[in-house]
């Protein structure tokens, strides 16, 4: 179980990435995790430093939907 764990889901803004992340969010929540959602402004560039820092500060783990 993931009780008390905060998991970040990072949407890289690729088409249909949110479909995949919705499924993950549902499963993670069922297992007791708190899910927080983040998004990169564009999939073509690395995540901004501020965003990476926020995720690191606010979450225990991060899942990134990396590609198509």
């Amino acid at each position: 179980m993931l009780d008390g764990q905060v998991v970040a889901l990072l949407d890289i803004s690729k088409p249909r990435g949110e479909v995949f992340l919705e499924q993950l969010a549902a499963r993670l929540t069922t297992r007791g995790a708190t899910v927080r959602r983040y998004a990169k402004p564009t999939f073509t560039k690395p995540a901004p430093v501020d965003l990476r820092r926020r995720i690191a500060e606010e979450c225990d783990a991060v899942i990134e939907a990396l590609a198509d």
Binding site: P41, T42, F43, T44, K45, P46, A67, D68
Partner: protein, 468 residues
């Protein structure tokens, strides 16, 4: 400065004796410390230290030194120049009035690299890699992952130092931060990769500019490398540097056979690979990639173009040497051998441009249109400027939304219905269609280089001035 092996030095040996009787003369000999016998103050310069540091190119060279500083020099034998420089007259009675000298051993091609490493090797900071005697240097480069799949020129210290002569910039100057590993790159590291790519030293400023342009947020080399798409950096060179380097803007300009075109583009790719850590199958996830990812570099045909060059479109003065990087792949062909009016030819170009990426996708990716001389002639004869052609293409590439909507034409791909409904959409957003002129003088074709994700979300045409 003399060497015994040089007949002119032998000729002037007695003259040096005459001079030594009247002036303080020191002779540096490059090959025989007993030469010339008529002078007692001889310095053995077989190590060529003095010859190198005084940049002696010819022997004999007569230098006049005052208070430890060189104030004049003359090369070879010329009675009048020797007399004037030494302030002694007459000199060398019975000798011909002049006789050219010989090459200095310090610039002998078989020794120059070794000497350069010995005297200037301290300029290099890169880690030296020693190979075992039985290791093949080309195979080693493959084994260690330093190549793009083709052999590379081994970057020996001598070659790297020679390459660095191609720029006035200091070897330790940081040029850019190279993705994907975000590694700061120095002029020296660029020079190493330029050697590996096969560049001549005079190409280095163009390679440096290309690396700088690539590693900007605007060009976004990181994304271009990582993408599943086909594209890589396409380099267009403008200005006098293109002709100075013998770059090809004409016959087969996008093809093989020109050293500058081939190696400048390759050097940029090797920088991304070897310094940035961008490896195919690693961070580079291209579904297909393309042959342009070995190298894709050409010059615009400014002399033959009826239009202002790309560098001027980008805000640089005519006459400036620039590199422009476009994220692209290709080329693909537009054939039109019939049109003789600009209106008809523009429609041909637009028809193919509309099909770039997908005939039903718009406003997401750019394209570079390379107009051939024979097509440009049609526009020029009718007085069409580049702006006029661009305006015509913009109008022709306004596409009815109902043709673009998802499902239209029985094709699921397309623009979301809400975006498409009841309006015309432009194929390209402003600035996303780049027009240049190049190619051989025969052939009523033009070329399209399809772009990648355009605008701030992706990669934008990026121009950098070449600095020597």
């Amino acid at each position: 400065m003399v060497k015994r092996d040089c007949p002119t030095c032998g000729l002037v040996a007695p003259v040096l004796g005459e001079l030594a009787a009247r002036r303080s003369v020191t002779v540096y000999t490059q090959d025989d410390p007993e030469f010339p016998p008529a002078v007692t103050d001889r310095v053995d310069d077989r190590g060529l230290t003095m010859s190198w540091h005084h940049r002696i190119e010819t022997v004999p060279t007569l230098l006049r030194i005052e208070n430890g500083v060189e104030v004049a020099r003359t090369e070879g034998w010329s009675r009048s120049e020797w007399e004037a420089l030494a302030g002694v007259s007459p000199l060398g009675a019975g000798l011909p009035p002049h006789r050219p000298g010989c090459g200095s051993l310090s610039v002998d091609p078989t020794r120059a690299d070794q000497l350069r490493v010995r005297f200037e090797g301290g300029r290099l900071a890169a880690r030296r890699i020693e190979l075992g005697e039985i290791e093949d240097e080309l195979e080693t480069a493959f084994d260690r992952g330093w190549t793009d799949g083709l052999p590379v020129v081994p970057p020996t210290p001598g070659r790297v130092l020679r390459m660095l002569d191609g720029t006035r910039r200091a070897p330790d100057e940081v040029v850019a931060v190279v993705p994907p590993d975000l590694v700061p790159i120095t002029v020296e590291k660029v020079a190493i990769n330029a050697v590996m790519a096969g560049c001549k030293p005079e190409y280095l400023p163009v390679v440096l500019a290309a690396v700088q342009a690539a590693c900007t947020d605007r060009f976004n080399m990181h994304g271009l490398l990582c993408t599943t798409f086909f594209s890589g950096p396409v380099i267009v060179v403008n200005g006098p540097i293109a002709a100075q380097l013998g770059m090809n803007s004409g016959v087969n300009c996008l093809g093989q056979g020109n050293r500058a075109n081939a190696t400048i583009g390759r050097a940029l790719q090797l920088v991304v690979r070897n310094v940035g850590g961008g490896l195919p199958g690693g961070i580079d996830r291209a579904t297909f990639g393309g042959p342009g990812k070995y190298t894709f570099c050409f010059a615009e045909d400014e002399a033959g173009s009826p239009w202002e060059p790309l560098s001027v479109d980008q805000g640089f003065a005519r006459g400036a040497s620039t590199v422009s990087l476009f994220p692209g792949h290709g080329p693909s062909a537009i054939v039109d051998q019939i049109s003789r009016t600009p209106e008809s030819l523009a429609r041909s170009l637009a028809a193919k441009l509309r099909a770039t990426h997908h005939p039903k996708l718009v406003m997401g990716m750019g394209a570079m249109l390379i107009v051939s001389p024979e097509h440009a002639r049609v526009f020029a004869a009718a007085g069409w400027t580049k702006a006029r052609l661009r305006a015509a293409l913009d109008e022709l590439l306004l596409i009815p939304g109902e043709e673009l909507a998802r499902g239209a034409g029985g094709i699921e791909e397309g623009v979301p219905a809400a975006l498409a409904a009841g309006r015309r959409l432009p194929k390209f957003r402003p600035g996303d269609l780049v027009i240049v002129q190049a190619g051989g003088s025969a052939g009523m074709f033009s070329a399209i280089i399809e772009g990648w994700v355009s605008g701030e979300r992706g990669s934008q045409l990026t121009t950098q001035e070449v600095i020597s």
